[in-house]
């Protein structure tokens, strides 16, 4: 059986929180699920529940990346560049530009 590989990308703060929950939901369904916080927005610090979600996602071989150093340091996310993200997307079965871009 070939497992699905899904990458969700977020460009709005509110979408980030729900989008990580969405990635976790897919990981629970036996998919490789990744989230990427793009250049925008500047994140808020994860609360305990959100930090736990990230930990659970990593336990299931998923992960959350961010394209800015600030967001990586704030919430212990893995750094990724746009070029690296593009290459990663080539390996995905499903690519999901999540929600909206904040105006």
């Amino acid at each position: 059986m070939e497992y699905k590989k899904v990458c969700l990308m977020y460009r709005d703060q509110s979408c980030t929180v729900d989008g990580i929950r969405s990635a976790l939901g897919l990981a629970v369904e036996n998919m490789y699920a990744y989230g990427v916080v793009m250049d925008e927005p500047k994140m808020e610090k994860f609360n305990e529940l959100q930090a736990e979600s990230l930990e659970m996602l990593r336990d299931m071989e998923g992960d959350v990346f961010a394209t800015t150093k600030e967001n990586c340091e704030l919430n212990d996310l893995e750094p990724i560049t746009i070029e690296e993200l593009g290459e990663k997307l080539r390996d995905m079965t499903h690519i999901i530009p999540y929600g909206i871009i904040k105006a």
Partner: protein, 105 residues
């Protein structure tokens, strides 16, 4: 036989496209499932065409946690849906695993 289509909706401003694509896919004999999450659950209460979408598509459900987060009472079930369609992110998993084609809006 027409391919099946699953639509995952997270942007509340895309309802017009959800309807247009669902109608076009149904006209081609497709099996269409739509799942609304986060901000897009507003569509279930604010879009006049939502009950019609529920009739046209083969399956429509919303994320009940998102609906609650958007300030709605989970017992206030939108017209066109049943209690069991106030669902979880597992519906998204079904779209990815079981449908031939995938679209996020």
């Amino acid at each position: 036989m027409s391919k099946s289509l699953g639509i995952f909706v997270t942007n509340p401003d895309q309802f017009k496209h959800v309807m247009g694509i669902t109608k076009a896919a149904k006209a081609k004999g497709s099996n269409v499932k739509v799942f609304f999450s986060w901000d897009a659950t507003h569509n279930a209460k604010k879009e006049a065409g939502f009950p019609e979408l529920c009739k046209i598509a083969d399956d429509v459900s919303i994320c009940v946690d998102s609906y609650k987060n958007m300030g709605y009472d989970i017992d206030d079930i939108p017209e066109g849906l049943e209690t069991k369609k106030m669902a979880t992110q597992a519906q998204h998993g079904i779209i990815i695993e079981d449908f031939d084609c995938y679209l996020s809006l």
